[in-house]
Symmetry: D2
Subunit: 243 residues, 4 copies
């Protein structure tokens, strides 16, 4: 574990130790010697550190044949290109860069996009604590874009909506033709619902994130699979194998 | 039953016959002689007719000592005053005028207003078929006003909301300080959810109307109770006795 | 349309006429001459008739090169084998036999099975009107079996459950290791929810069937795709193309 | 605050300090001198201590004219009788003993019982983390009993249920004639839903407890109101004034 003393890192350490099929062999944080990872025989490194540190960490891992699962932020195209270059010289090594390790959120987005062309109407409701600054949430915006893209590709008709009178804002925000509604309610954490409807039936896909540790199962999915995925992968999505 | 051959009237007839404690003694519609009701010994008349006919119907009922449960629309203050005058001369007779016979909708509004002062945040989501012309729905607007009034009376603080950036409409319509969100989705009928939240917990009150016959239980509540409620009552609300 | 004067057939006729890309060219029911279909130039036949009639109908269609989308029940392995034999002599003709045309129900089951291995816990709640004789519903039973199969294949651990005291039945029915809960509530139609959870997050997939016409969109999916699917297909599932 | 260094006590201290209309004047825990409360001029004491300590604490408070809001457990009838005796000599002093300070849970139970006689069917679904030992939960059991009592008093008919075949447990536990279903899913905290239905419509009342701090708003309700409620009150319920 790289970044082992951060809040997130500590949770990952706990999860790796608790899982029956993974073992925590080394915990390293800023100031420690990264070589400890190799000495301890780590097969996979999990990196939740800092944009300033992560590229050096990854170069070291790739050079030493250690796979990496990375939740650290700050990856632009230049950084991804650099990683590709390094990985070209280490053909067996896998690196996963994921901005979101929540399995539930990833599946919600995927299922919503897959189902969208089969329904006449699709709307998104996201519900968060009232300290959130942006509305709609980033996840809701991305979900709406994925839905819109899937419907464009399938040639779906525009959604029906006879609204002719009303109060401004009632029908929510228009994100690429998909209506998105943002609730801000004390007591909530982070929740999202996609509602799809056609004649006589509706399908609802809802994700509730109730605790910050919701990223740990996704990290474990990455840790378990990365050895079989040499090269660079962006997004945990590709690791959630669904035939 | 007055208006027995209309869609609504037919459903009411069926419900009255099906209930173990009520009996349908006469079915009258436009063109029939209203006197048949009295001859049949009707104790209570249910009127789902037309604004043009209902006042004559009610004068007849009141004069003949028959209680009335009325779902016909078109009652303004002048008409209510007229009814009061007629009822003053028939002290034992009760008339219930109700714009909404859905018990679920009435209880949803009441509970939402009662609970509202105990929570930091309250928002309303209403979901309807996409052929609906107005957004938000009339029920959602009324619910928001009742919530706002209850919070004003209790001296509730303004609801927390840190939203500073976003897309127009994401936070819904502002009805008297209460956010209302309107979804229009094929396959839905008429649904509403009130979400209340405070530190660490939320309370959700949801009403789903899946079929137009949802007014019949409310009509039966009126029929059973009207004999004990002499005079004019507006709204079924007062009949839903809750100690 | 074969079985055009039945309740279901009438709905299908309406839906075929209403859709912009399909046309109703012939309506045939018991007593009518099935040859009318060929004379009218039907490219696809929809059959919602009777187990006693459907095999003759299908032999006729296959012999005349007309594709068939079939919602009639009563297909056992012998009948399916017979269809395969007939289709072997008509290489371009497609026949779809589907026990369930609800797109929402099919996607719910598929998504539930796909997601199940990524979560520690999965339970099924099905909610129906109180006149239903069986509990759990057939759909809930099948959903649980699909979930169990997906988890077995993935080598998922048994679900956590510390229940040690309680009242009999509280934890629902055990279907292949998956807990299934059946609610019977007046006012409901047919609803099902699959709840999946892992550390800190849950994913909920819910299907609400509010009206019997919910099969028509699925029939249209079949009608549009059958010409590109020669041979026998059982289940609409395979027609919901998701890459 | 008595029990200020416990987990619960610490949360209450934070909440009292954060609220605009309450002030924390003294924090006392095991080993401290309780007299500090009086010296600090406390008007109301909140006691989250231990069954062994709470009676001595309350005698002290009552003797010194300090109101008390008590979340400590272990009150049997003998203890309540003792409190009544002490309070008889301190006519202005109020003591609130509450086993549950969650406003959402209390309102859910109250609304469910109030609404129950107006619907044909009522069922309870409770959802908890899988480490919970009992099924159904204590709150679900109490809710079912309140619903059953309200229906008995109103003379409600038995609930309709045509289930004739099925798998054992599918219809849940029978608590006083009310069906209760218990889900145990990783990622959940503590949730409960009451579903009420009649012809064509349903009403759902749901409580989600997402964080242990959900008791603090209820404690503050008690602190604000106790001075106006001399004598002994058991249950926060009576403090949630709803005209």
């Amino acid at each position: 574990m790289l970044g082992a003393r951060g809040k997130v890192g500590a949770e990952v350490c706990r999860a790796v130790e608790a899982a029956p099929d993974t073992e925590l062999v080394a915990s390293v944080d800023a100031g420690d010697d990264i070589a400890a990872l190799v000495e301890a025989g780590a097969g996979v490194v999990v990196d939740f550190t800092h944009p300033d540190a992560v590229m050096d960490n990854l170069r070291f891992c790739i050079e030493h044949g250690v796979h990496a699962v990375v939740g650290t932020t700050g990856f632009d195209q230049a950084r991804l290109d650099q990683l590709e270059t390094w990985l070209a010289d280490a053909p067996g090594v896998g690196v996963l860069i994921a901005p979101n390790f929540s399995i539930g959120a990833i599946l919600m987005m995927r299922f919503a996009a897959q189902a969208a062309p089969f329904f006449d109407s699709v709307e998104v409701v996201e519900l968060h604590h009232p300290s959130k600054a942006d509305a709609p949430s980033g996840t809701a915006g991305r979900t709406a874009e994925l839905i819109a893209a899937a419907r464009r590709e399938a040639g779906s008709a525009p959604m029906p909506d006879a609204t002719s009178t009303g109060i401004e804002g009632a029908r929510g925000a228009d994100v690429d033709g998909v209506r998105v509604h943002s609730l801000r309610v004390r007591g909530l954490v982070a929740h999202q619902e996609v509602l799809l409807g056609t004649a006589g039936e509706t399908l609802t896909i809802r994700h509730d994130s109730l605790d910050r540790i919701s990223f740990t199962p996704g990290v474990l999915v990455g840790v378990r699979a990365i050895a079989d995925r040499p090269g660079l992968t962006v997004g945990l999505d590709g690791f959630l194998d669904i035939e």
